[in-house]
Each structure stands twice: as C-alpha cells, then as structure tokens.
C-alpha cells in the first residue's frame, strides 16, 4: 500500500509540475502485448509521441488474462487516470460494466463502436477500405496472378480485413486467385511467427507471389519468410515497410497511433461519442516511404489514389464482411 501511495504521490507531483495535465492518461494493451510490431505497438508509438512532445507520462498495462480487463479498468479509474484508453474489441463488455461506475472518467475504446455510454470515446476503423487499396497494389504487383492472405485468429474482424483485400484484388484483376489462410483458432494465433512462416511457404508453393498478413505478431514470420523466399509481402496496422526494405510492398495503415495521440492530447476534455475513421478521415491507408518507393510505380500509385477518391466519394463501395457475415470475393 505504502509503495502504491508513494507511486501515486510521485505521479501527482509530476502531473502538478507539468502544469496543464492534472490527470495521467492510462493505456491498456490487449493480450497481444505492447511490442507486437502491429496493433498494440501502434498505440504505444502514439502514446510515446505524446509523452515526448508534452513531457507528460502515462500509465500502461499489458493484459495477461481475461479477468484483468475489468480489473485494470477499475484500478486505473480509481487511481485517477484520465482518459483511460483501451485496445481491442474485447474490452467492449468490461467497459460497458465499468464506465457507468466512473462517470467523471473518460474512456477511449479503440475498435469498439456499439456501446451506449456518455463517457466513452469509441473509435472504429474502416479496415476493409484500407485493405481494398493494398489488395489493388498486390494484384498489380503480382506476376503469377495469385496472391495470399494470412489472418491471425479466425474471427469476424480478420475476415473483414481479408474480405476488403480480396475485393481490391478482384477489382484490378477479376481472374486473380486469392488464397486465404488463418493461423489458428486460439489467441496464440496472434503470436505464432513460426506458423505464419509455414503458411507463407505453403502459399508460395501454391503460386502466391504477394502475401498480406493481418495477424499481429504472427505477421513478423510471414514478412520474414516472404523476404527470404524473395516474394513480396504486405504489413498491417503499423508501417512495417522498414522490416525488410524492398521486400515489403506496402503496409495497410490503421492509424491507431493517431487516435491514441489525439486522445491523450485532448486529455480529460476528450470528446466522447462514436467515431468511424475511414479513408476520408485518414484513419486507414497504405504506407509509402523510402523503403518501398521502388516497388510502387507511378501507374500503381495513380490507380490506387483514383480508387481512394472514389471510395471517399461513394463511387466505389467496398462491401463490409459484417454486413451479412459473408464475403463476395473470397471464401474463408
């Protein structure tokens, strides 16, 4: 107890000296862990950027078990952290139980959009739109007309990624084959680079020459094997182009980092409600930097930018897997 009070006292003193921010924000990472090079790491990067820019500090926890979800929410709320930022759709249920008990605390829920509570900022991303664009790039870069998709755990969210991707591929080349595999059915599928590597090899043997990994930490193995076998890969969530320069075609960006940064910057005044971040809001997109500049030709870029504009204007509609739990472009 004394240790905690001391800690909290120190934190309070720090916050006071910082002046503007009275309450420390808190960040709850999902089970994948902080350094998954993907979803959670994007949040960490956003938080780090905020901390560096403002000199503030934030609390964080990497969840280890389901029971800790509610526990972490309550502990942070009781310790005065504000806002409390949560990662992943699995926090929806604990949030709906905890948020009403702490009306003065603001919660920010990434990947949750369906709760009814006045003190939650809910942020959803249109992953299918971003995946559509990288699907187009994959189809244009492929020489074998066969591209692959490797998902993490077989849940609707990941099918949502794969479905947008397959639609993008078919938009460029209706005859292209999309091979879709899921790593597994348990949460360990998020962190199984060895199996990701095996799946990549299997897809290569079936003719795939571009693979898109939407699999958290498993994707590290996919990208590694693709680079080793000299085919192209596509990263996810964070910009993963740098992992294997010249071998990663692009990355489907889900700007979790921006969402977290914005929430921390707004602090206790963060606006609540439901926010859907798509291409128009630059919540999703594809990564273009010095590591993949040689892979993306001007025609490819022009075609994708054109599709981007059309999706924003509504001329192209990317079907969401959630609409009726099926995908028009690929079977899982």
């Amino acid at each position: 107890m004394t240790y905690v009070t001391k800690l909290m006292g120190a934190a309070a003193a720090l916050a006071l000296s910082a002046g503007a921010a009275l309450a420390e924000p808190a960040l709850i990472f999902d089970l994948g862990g902080k350094f998954d090079k993907s979803f959670n790491e994007a949040a960490f990067n956003g938080a780090q950027r905020w901390a560096e820019e403002t000199g503030g500090s934030f609390r964080e926890i990497e969840l280890q078990s389901e029971a800790q979800r509610e526990q972490a929410l309550r502990r942070f709320a009781e310790a005065g952290s504000n806002p409390v930022i949560t990662m992943g759709f699995a926090m929806a249920d604990p949030l709906s139980a905890v948020a009403p008990d702490y009306p003065d605390t603001k919660f920010v829920a990434i990947d949750v959009t369906w709760l009814e509570a006045p003190n939650i900022r809910q942020i959803g991303f249109a992953e299918h739109e971003g995946s559509y664009l990288v699907g187009m790039l994959a189809a244009m870069a492929s020489e074998s007309n066969t591209v692959g998709f490797i998902g993490g755990m077989d849940i609707p969210l990941i099918r949502h990624f794969g479905c947008g991707y397959a639609q993008g591929v078919k938009a460029v080349n209706p005859d292209a084959t999309v091979i879709a595999n899921m790593t597994g059915t348990t949460p360990s599928a998020w962190n199984d680079p060895v199996k990701g590597s095996e799946l990549t090899k299997s897809q290569i043997s079936q003719g795939a020459d571009v693979v898109y990994a939407a699999a958290g930490g498993t994707g590290v193995g996919v990208l590694q094997t693709a680079a080793d076998e000299n085919i192209l890969s596509i990263g996810v969530d964070s910009n993963q182009n740098y992992l294997h320069p010249g071998k990663v075609l692009t990355s489907m960006l889900k700007r979790v980092d921006v969402a977290v940064y914005d929430a921390m910057k707004a602090g206790i005044d963060v606006e609540t409600g439901v926010f859907q971040l798509g291409l128009a809001e630059e919540g999703v997109g594809y990564a273009l930097d010095e590591h993949n500049a040689s892979l993306i030709s001007d025609e490819m870029k022009a075609a994708v930018e054109d599709a981007r504009a059309k999706i924003i204007s509504g001329d192209i509609e990317v079907v969401s897997y959630y609409a009726n739990d099926t995908c028009p472009a690929v079977d899982f």
Partner: protein, 384 residues
C-alpha cells in the same frame, strides 16, 4: 532408515524449491534495474493486503483448485491428463448452453444445473482419450493435448457461428440472464457483517471447489474405487491380477478428472465473466499440472498450491499495473516457480534425501535410537 521423514517430503522440499525460485526471481528483477524488495511488497499487499486483493487471489485459486484436482486424480492412476484446458473449455460450453437455454428461477438451481452440465461436458471430452488409451493404447498425453486444440476449434466454431449475438464483433456468447448471477463473496459475507470488496470476482464456486477437495480426498482414500485407482496406478499388472479392470479404471478415472476440469467453468464462465468468451480458460488447465505436482496429488496440497498460484497471478497483475516490470518477466517469475516445484523437483529432493539418509546412518552407527521401521507396510500413497 531408508526414507526421508514425511514432513520433509511434504513441507521441506516445496519450501526449499519456492525459496530457490524466489531468489532467482529476485536476481532477475534486480538485473532489469527494479527493486526486488519493493516488488515483493507490492505483490503481497496487492494480492493479500485487502479484501479486493484476496477476492482476485481466491478467484484464480478456485480455477486452479479444480484443474489441480483434475490432474491429481488422474495422477493416482498414473494417467497424465494434460487436457484440462480443453476439458475446462468444453465445461464452459456446457455452462453457457445451460445458462442461456434454461430459464432458471434462482441462482441456486442454476448452480446445480451448471455443475452438472460442466462436469458432463468436461467428462465427455476426457472419455474419448481415455477410451483410446484403454482400448487402443494411444498414449493419453498425446491424445489429451491434441484434444485441447480440437476443443479450441470447436469453441471457436460455436462462438463465432452459433452463440454470438447478432451484430456483435466479439466472438463471445450473450450475457447470461440476471437470474443465474452467482453471489460473490461480497454478497455472501455481507449478511455475516463482514464487508468484502465488491469489485472482486471470487464467488460461491470457491465453496464448490473446497467441497470438491473433500470429495476427492474421500474418493481416493476412503472408497473402494479410490483404492482401485491407486492400486492400478502403482502396478497395473498387480491390479489386473487382483481383478481390477484396466479399461474400467482408465475410463472412470478420466471421467472424474475431466469432470473436475470442466467444473472450473462454474467459476470463470458463470461466476466471473457471466458469458462465454473465447479465451475463457487462459492456461488454467496447464497450471493445474503444476498445482497437482506441487500439492503431491493430495487434495489438501492442491488447495494450498492453488492458493499460492492465485497469489502469484494476482500479485503479478499488481506488478504489471504499478511497475514497469514487463509482463514477460512476470511470466518468467511464475514459470520459475513451476520449474522448481514441478520439473526440478529431484534437484532438491535427491541431495535432501541423501542428507537425511546420512544423518540416519550416523545415528544408527552411534547406536542412538534409530527410528524403528514401521510394522505396517508402507501405505499406497507413498511415492517410490
């Protein structure tokens, strides 16, 4: 004196193992630049310093009691059931189905129903490997661990395709109705004038777990079936000679073991989450192995070991919340305890045994009163 005294086997060896694990953990914490004394203090206050901490410690401990008992019962027949994870998952499915399908009038009826359903589903999941072992000789270690993966895939199918409420992204069942809410320790202790933390998830299934400990003890040491299980465990050929059917004992033992593992779902699915989530068991089935090893397959030992692991889990959560010790290192600390108490048991046991033997010999040589050999043959529960 050809054996260590019993107290050394039961108390001294686990204690020394724990101390060794603690010393190594302290070194690890020191190595990453944190203060081990403060970390231990934080763990103790976080897990045992408040009714809130106790509530979480007991919640985790309840899970481990069930899975620990499951492994312990199988150990007595020399069956290594490492499928507790899958059996508990299936138990969760049973609990979810019975809570969602039946309109229960009161939680007490629902509890009885859930105990039955979870045991049935868990037992069903254990009976297939048991049959394969008994009839076909397929090794139970291999089959039970493979059944864990099948269970995960099955659960995934049920949650994504059948039990998921319309419009929800989360692969989880709907919330159970209010009527099947199990009273937490807060609600149970309030009438007695004891105020217990409201937020903690420990609930009435703790009492079910304690009752299960008693029942398992009675089964193993006070019934004919328990005797047969132990006899079969000690020598299959002798047991067969005595007219004990290996087929029957293997299947019956695994049914009991699977049922106990399935029972865990009453605590985590019905008591805590009040819905079935994909990751409901989160490794408790495997922790059960460590708990049973540490508890020397005795229900009371399992009870104590489960409390210890509950403490490690809740203490670890507090470490993760308030320090910058990364969670991987918290897992390392937990793993060290498992390693020392389970896998490296002989490392402590053998030198200690030699020491006791040497002391015994010296005392005998000096003609001092060496303890007389026991007149009765060693009871069956002794490890060879």
């Amino acid at each position: 004196m050809d054996k260590m005294p019993r107290w050394a086997d039961v108390v001294l060896i686990p204690l020394i193992s724990l101390i060794l694990a603690a010393i190594l953990s302290a070194l690890v914490i020191l190595f990453i630049g944190e203060d081990p004394v403060a970390a231990v203090k934080l763990m103790v206050t976080g897990a045992l310093g408040s009714t809130y901490g106790w509530g979480y410690t007991l919640y985790y401990a309840t899970n481990f009691m069930f899975t620990g008992l499951a492994v312990a019962v199988a150990f007595h027949a020399r069956l290594f059931n490492i499928g507790g994870e899958g059996q508990a998952m299936l138990g969760g499915l049973g609990v979810a189905l019975i809570c969602l399908m039946v309109p229960w009038p009161h939680w007490s009826f629902a509890l009885v129903g859930a105990v039955g359903a979870s045991m049935l589903f868990g037992a069903l999941w254990a009976v297939i490997p048991a049959y394969l072992q008994a009839a076909r000789g397929s090794h139970i270690v291999i089959t039970t661990i493979m059944f864990n993966f099948i269970a995960a895939a099955l659960l995934n199918y049920f949650l994504v395709n059948l039990l998921r409420p319309v419009g929800s992204m989360d692969p989880a069942s709907a919330r159970f109705p209010e009527a099947v809410h199990l009273p937490t320790l807060h609600e149970l202790l309030a009438p007695l004038g004891i105020s217990f933390s409201k937020a903690a998830p420990a609930n009435v299934s703790l009492l079910v777990a304690i009752a299960a400990c008693f029942l398992v003890w009675a089964l193993i040491w006070r019934t004919r079936l328990g005797y047969e299980i132990r006899a079969y465990g000690h020598s299959q050929t002798a047991a067969r000679y005595a007219g004990i059917s290996p087929m029957r004992i293997t299947v019956v033992t695994m049914v009991i073991s699977g049922g106990l593992a399935g029972l865990m779902a009453v605590n985590n699915v019905m008591g805590e989450a009040e819905r079935l989530v994909m990751n409901a068991t989160e490794g408790a089935g495997f922790i059960g192995i460590a708990v049973a090893l540490m508890g020397r397959s005795h229900p009371f030992g399992v009870f104590i070991a489960a409390l210890l692991f509950g403490f490690l889990y809740q203490g670890g959560a507090e470490l993760a919340l308030w320090t910058s010790i990364p969670r991987e290192l918290i897992v390392v600390i937990q793993a060290l305890v498992i390693l020392f108490t389970g896998a490296l048991d002989n490392m402590v046991r053998m030198p200690l045994e030699r020491m006791f033997l040497a002391i015994g010999r010296r005392r005998r040589d000096r003609g001092e009163g060496a303890p007389l050999p026991r007149p009765t043959p060693a009871p069956l529960d002794k490890k060879e």
